[in-house]
Amino acid sequence: MSALDKLRQTMRRDQVWNCMMPHYTYEDVLDTRKGPILYLEDVTVSFDGFKALDALTLDINDGELRCIIGANGAGKTTMMDVITGKTRPDEGSVYYGQRIDLLRLSEPEIAALGIGRKFQKPTVFEHHSVLINLELSMRMDKRVWTTLFSKMTGEQRDHIDEVLQIIGLQEEYHNRAGLLSHGQKQWLEIGMLLMQDPRLLLVDEPVAGMTGQETERTAELLTSLAGKHSVVVVEHDMEFVRSIARTVTVLHQGSVLAQGDMDEVQNDPRVREVYLGS
């Protein structure tokens, strides 16, 4: 983009400059009365000419549990990157509720609006105890000076205990997160998302590397979250997807190939062709 274009963009009269936008939390402005909590339209992302997302259009309803499947390189993780502000799309728009344009916000701002993300590879603060991991994730004023002087209140401690209960790590709360098993780390990470009181949870491959039992528990956990939160799950494990999914979206080469319930999708000829090569 040339400098002149940039200037023009800056001076457009139909926009408000970022610095003049009000600082909002999601209770104030998140407007889901018309249905979707998340709305992606024509989102395109390319890396060196390779289109990771190609005019992707997708919406997620408030309180829904959505599963997204697709082969490697279908654009699942990139989509999450776009929603959470890590990657800026070349084109398209992403709206959170009716009014919030996510493309204008940074990752912490998006997170503060109640969009939580679990990474593909479980990422927790390994040098901290489980307790501190959860404490740090708690929804609160996260400005530097307040953080410096902040002390945990009893109420907050209760909230942590609550989440510990949900993720089943009551016994482990004092241990260093680095010492947890793989599955426990996954749960801890989900717990960290829950500490933020999110409206929308983006969960990337939650059961990768889990035992059958762990998988089952995770499925329970996620289904119990739906309703209160909107949950988007990206997963390869078809059994797992079947066990939790109501609506499934299939991504292929950066755009939606098919969408519907599990059976519909599995019987879709295009999906079969992509997955089975026949």
């Binding site: 959470t84 890590k86 940074s106 990752e107 912490p108 701002e109 997170a111 503060a112 939580g116 993300r117 990474f119 990422t123 927790v124 603060f125 390994e126 040098h127 901290h128 307790l131 501190i132 404490e135 740090l136 994730s137 929804r139 996260k142 400005r143 530097v144 953080t147 410096l148 002087f149 902040s150 002390k151 945990m152 004092h174 960290m192 998302l193 500490m195 933020q196």
Partner: protein, 365 residues
Amino acid sequence: MVKLLQQYFQRDRGGNSMLGILLFISVMVPVLNLVVPESSVFHVSTYTVTLIGKYLTFALLALAVDLIWGYCGIMSLGHGAFFALGGYAMGMYLMRQIGDRGVYGNPELPDFMVFLNWSELPWYWSGFDMFWFAMLMVIVVPGLLAFVFGWLAFRSRVTGVYLSIITQALTYALMLAFFRNEMGFGGNNGLTDFKDILGYSLQSDFTRASLFAASAIILALAYLLSRYIINSKLGRVVVAIRDAEDRTRFIAYRVEYYKLWLFVVSAILAGMAGALYVPQVGIINPGEFSPLNSIELVIWVAIGGRGTLYGAVAGAVLVNFSKTWFTGILPEGWIFALGALFVVVTIYLPRGLVGIMNRKQAAQT
């Protein structure tokens, strides 16, 4: 919770005893230097006082580096720049204190300006005749530079090696700039030939002992401050950033502000170290900006043990003490020893000397 606090206390037993030692020497060394007669075996010579005083300022500098490197994972190869800027601010005050006792007897201009035919004091020298202003600048100048630099770098997410290299570029550029005589900071010779501080002669043993005590006390205070920071929730966020920056960002922390805050605090500590260093060694010159110095001080921290505050302090004192010692006994070969030390510690002691002891401690309990 209580258990946690206890744990933190236990974990910092090294730090507590270090504070004890600091307090002890801040009283005893001046006493042994000033009160005990020179003939006594307990007399501490002025040479030793300034030597240990210098180590203490280096220790403060190492503490500053450890704060950002050990806890936040920001490896600054330009911390020498903040140290030097603090030193220059102090040096400018001391320079103005000379007054008309310079060799040319000019009451207004420092000697180097007189022989370069400067007719008046440059604007940025004004105010430095006042101690409070100079002290303010010791904090403001490094802090401001760190703020501007950090704001740009952290906002655009320059991390890891890239950050290290551009901090190196920063101090290198400053070194070249301060070498220029047109800058008005004395060029290669820097600032020297100081006479007194707050009206006390810098050459008197009393002033030296006081500066020594000030260094020890400020180091102790800085240690307490750093410990407060790292034990606060902010400290935990900072460690979280070090271990998983993206995760921290996705739980709604503005990582760049945290980094920036800590970077500025660290730069201010480094600046204070510089300000204490200059009156004790008697000279500040652009050599302090040299990128090699900054690398070396990162190595002090590595040797002591990063991520433990007293480790950084111990590393700085130990490396500098062994330098003093080796240059005496092995004038031609000490660089081999130093180089080998760096290699061996980095490879085999990733947690530094403190790491060995902790390991032993862990084995015992």
